[in-house]
């Protein structure tokens, strides 16, 4: 009687192979809008050499990439562009939010700058820093590799459970609609002080 390997055995090994291949040749899509983009360039160039980890093939077409690196602040007008670029990338794909601005808006808490890209697209790894050092970005790429190796599947089954938008609590709930703030601080208080003197 012949021994038949069950299906799981075969698929698991294919998963391992796919993960091995994918993790070691992540092709980054640089969505660089600000100073983080300069650190991203440094990461890819000879001194820090992202090629040591198989991610040197930076492409400027989203259709050739599987790792989106959002580097820098994203303004309101840029959000539809960012979403379209993300949707144009083929599966499987991952996203790194690089720097304080992409992750949370950073110091730019103004009407035009979105407070974290994870409100609009799914993010896998956040990199803190303003801007992050190239070593931190390399660490993020290694984290993505680890994520792929541990959880990746041949047909991307690990993404299926992420059906709801992974956004923080909406800012609409934190801000009263009529809240009026004029820089720097509360302008009404400043005016009262001025009038008192």
């Amino acid at each position: 009687m012949a021994v038949r390997p069950n299906e799981n055995f075969l698929i698991t090994q294919l998963d391992w192979l796919a993960n091995f291949v994918r993790a070691n040749s992540l092709w980054p899509m640089p969505f660089a809008t600000a100073c983080c983009g300069i650190e991203l360039m440094a990461t890819a160039s000879s001194r820090y050499d992202l090629a040591r980890f198989g991610s040197e093939a930076i492409r400027f077409s989203p259709r050739q990439c599987d790792l989106m690196i959002v580097a820098g602040r994203v303004v309101m007008k840029m959000v539809p562009v960012m979403q379209r670029i993300w949707l144009q990338m083929p599966e499987p794909k991952w996203c790194i939010s690089m720097g304080a601005c992409a992750s949370s808006g950073g110091v730019f808490d103004t009407y035009a700058v979105v407070q974290g890209i994870d409100r609009f697209i799914p993010v896998d790894v956040y990199v803190p820093g303003c801007p992050p050092r190239p070593e931190q970005l390399i660490r993020a790429v290694l984290d993505i590799q680890e994520k792929v190796k541990k959880k990746g599947t041949l047909f991307g089954r690990e993404f299926e459970e992420r059906k709801a938008p992974e956004r923080p609590r909406a800012l609409a709930l934190e801000l009263a609609p009529q809240e009026k703030i004029v820089a720097p601080g509360d302008y009404r208080t400043a005016t009262q002080e001025w009038e008192a003197n």
């Binding site: 309101m76 009407y111 035009a112 979105v114 697209i121 799914p122 609409a172 801000l175 809240e179 703030i181």
Partner: protein, 167 residues
């Protein structure tokens, strides 16, 4: 720098009482009423030789101490022959702040006036293409007005979110 010939040109155009001047260090400032603005700018260009419009910008004087008008609109002119610079200022008010466009005099006024319109909502009549230049087309507010909240009216979060699993 001597501005007496510039003042003489304005005097012959607007009359003795038609404008005010002041000087702060090397800034020579001329305040003209809004209805005579275009005449003043045209005289400055054609008779006083101010052939370059360096900047158009605006100021919102809401809650400003002792201010009588809501918006000040500022034109910075340069005479490229003599290097003379003047700052022409005028005031407009709500509910419909309007000014004549300087586009017929200086083609460079095109984008400058679009920016002032975009940020302050001041309409420049006679402008060939008065659209928003910085904010998105559908934006409804004028962000540099003082009564506009610093964090906006939630426009920056008015986008659909994309989930990781499609469909």
């Amino acid at each position: 720098m001597d501005h007496s010939s510039t003042v003489a040109v304005l005097r012959s155009t607007l009359g003795e009482e038609g404008f005010r001047t002041s000087q702060f260090r090397d800034n020579f400032r001329i305040v003209v009423p809004a209805d005579r603005l275009f005449d003043a700018l045209r005289a400055l260009k054609e008779q006083a030789g101010f052939d370059m419009l360096a900047d158009v910008t605006a100021v919102d004087y809401l809650h400003y101490p002792n201010a009588t008008d809501r918006y000040g609109v500022v034109y910075c002119l340069v005479n490229t022959t003599t290097g003379e610079r003047v700052i022409v200022k005028t005031f407009v008010n709500d509910p419909e702040p309007r000014l004549p466009s300087a586009f017929p005099l200086w083609k460079g006024a095109d984008w400058l006036e679009r920016e002032v319109f975009d940020m302050f909502g001041i309409v420049f009549e006679g402008h060939p293409d008065l659209r928003r230049i910085l904010m998105p087309e559908g934006f409804a507010s004028y962000p540099l007005r003082k009564d506009y909240p610093l964090r906006g009216r939630l426009e920056r979060h008015n986008f659909p979110a994309i989930a990781r699993a499609e469909g």
